[in-house]
Symmetry: C2
Subunit: 414 residues, 2 copies
Amino acid sequence: MLKNCLIGQSGGPTAVINASLKGVIDVAKESKYFNNIYGMRYGIQGLLNGQVVDLSQKSSQELRLLKYTPSSVLGTSRYKIVDYNDNDEDYVKLFKLLNELKIGFLFYIGGNDSMDTVYKLNRYAKEKGIDIKIIGIPKTVDNDLLETDHCPGYGSASKYIATSVMEIARDSRVYDIKNVHIVEVMGRESGWLAASSMLASNDKLSTPDYIYVPEIEFSINKFIKDIEKKMKEQKAVVVVVSEGIKDKHNNYISVGKSTTHDHFGHKKLGGAAPMLAPFIKGNLCDRVKAIKLDVMQRAAAHCVSKRDAEEAYILGVKAAEAAIEGKTGTMISIKRLSNNPYKVEYIETPVGNIANKVKVLPNKYIEEDKNQINEKYKDYVLPLIKGEVNICYKDGLPQYAELDCLNNEILINS
Amino acid sequence: MLKNCLIGQSGGPTAVINASLKGVIDVAKESKYFNNIYGMRYGIQGLLNGQVVDLSQKSSQELRLLKYTPSSVLGTSRYKIVDYNDNDEDYVKLFKLLNELKIGFLFYIGGNDSMDTVYKLNRYAKEKGIDIKIIGIPKTVDNDLLETDHCPGYGSASKYIATSVMEIARDSRVYDIKNVHIVEVMGRESGWLAASSMLASNDKLSTPDYIYVPEIEFSINKFIKDIEKKMKEQKAVVVVVSEGIKDKHNNYISVGKSTTHDHFGHKKLGGAAPMLAPFIKGNLCDRVKAIKLDVMQRAAAHCVSKRDAEEAYILGVKAAEAAIEGKTGTMISIKRLSNNPYKVEYIETPVGNIANKVKVLPNKYIEEDKNQINEKYKDYVLPLIKGEVNICYKDGLPQYAELDCLNNEILINS
């Protein structure tokens, strides 16, 4: 008898995480290996509450827009399951449910925390002799997963950040007065997203003037001196900072919230830009703006990278194919073969190599002064933001898939 | 002998203010009525310093990208000239320079403060018998100019705001936890920009849940009650607030800066969203985000409304044509003839009717509860955001005109 498949999304959303979902669904619909296609609402946490929906009957019309719809349409969570040797309560509950639903294939789209979930579930299933294929599909705007050249979601976020910094920089130069714009982007542990802002430069306009990443110890004194120096050359200064920049004591440069933690034990951040602005304002100049690109940088599907969306989709397809081939406990990764022409291949990596680990921005991409990113990085990132998508517009606005009604379609709700 | 023309930009930039500039230049280049085409750097303030550049020799290649380039490429200012009856120093200096440059036609692209400048210069010229045609071209994302159906720049800003709110709303619904997103948009005196966020709704997703505009007295208690009520129905609540919302004592709801003023005597604002967030956080829910769309809403040329850009361009053309016909002291306005099909005509309005005045959001567009915008407004705004532009992309990023080198080309610098 054919088994059913179950797909979940986990961690922060990206502009293309639904493209991966669509990749799995498309293969599952076409192949003869899966019976029903189920989705878990709100990741593993929703699954624990029995929040499962049937995606099998969704029309191609409903799924058509999925590829370019931002957010995680299935919902997501940051719930961390403990090791089953410490407490197997969640595992017993989950696998009972998976058995009831006749799940033979489980796909989990997420980052390094989510791969930890894949790793643990797979290890448990193996130990208990449960026949289920569990495959991880990478996603994260942070681009910080090991064992993959890059992560789906990063290209689109980079495209949005670079575009926005181009526009902010032009806006900053219109007045004939000294001003500083501090643009804060995501990146708690790594400077990948901040680095992407270097793309805003061209041969006539150099911007941002400085980029500060968490990989480099941050000094407020050095920051002030950097800006002071630049203001001798020009009136408008634009800097980009990662939300995760830290001082020599390993404390975040951030106002508020730095002592609270999310469910994974990560420190929740207030803001680096609002923290830094007062050091400049009134001292070096009067016009200082602290701008956060906030959730827009991971949600701006209207500015999606075509290559990023394509790769996210293919990763979903490859994951489904790997499951059919009987693989389990692996994540599908991207291996770059060449830059020019850009060529990649999709490989399988044991999730244990990825779970809970962080790939930071390599030193080779950071300039000697430690406040700027070099051309080597540009060669790396440029292929990832390439291509624009003609997304569907209606009445002047993008059309996105609306699967939120999913909450009314939950099969089992314990 | 043919006279020269001089074009200036003033006030805050928009995504399409350069389209109006291109409209004037295109007519000036083709017609036989103008000799050289000059631009003032940094508006009237730059002109007072003799900062004038020659645009006559710019190639069509250089000007090609101008239509969809954000920011004010000539630079801008918020300098307010005093009445010449009080002090004619600026006037004597300006008209001496205009005479030296053989300026017969002056175009000033700006908002209500800029129209004050047009009005005063024109009155002075008339009184002194100086033969110069001075024409105003409207622009402002705020949409608050009298005597015109709407203002160029507003449609594109609205399109960006509605798109971003659509994306933020989807992002806000991915976690199965209570959360509130407070999105702050521009609008010191009027709620036009905040109102545009109502476009983010469609028949399946209603968002934002509330819209608060400066036209309605703001009560923090009512705000908390509104959110409390909505959170009984749903987990994720999205509200949009104008930066200019005020309490019953006419004080801005804003952290910081509310006591400082800009050059026009306007109060400079800190932030309404950061002020409101702490009233919700910890009380009604733990996850509260204060998001400011900041300068991106006026600079996002990558998300420009095709109709808005077209109209901005035509206003530049019409202004040049009016000057050729001998008109002076007028602003070109848009008069809407019908909604469906959308039809407008361009008319001339004495700048005195517009200078220093503000058109607020009419009561007829605000719902009875005073925290939402109605369908009548939708009929008004929908035509303004229509159409997408295939802007030029290179290596994954939009190409914008680079006229910043203008600073190296200043003719006279006193």
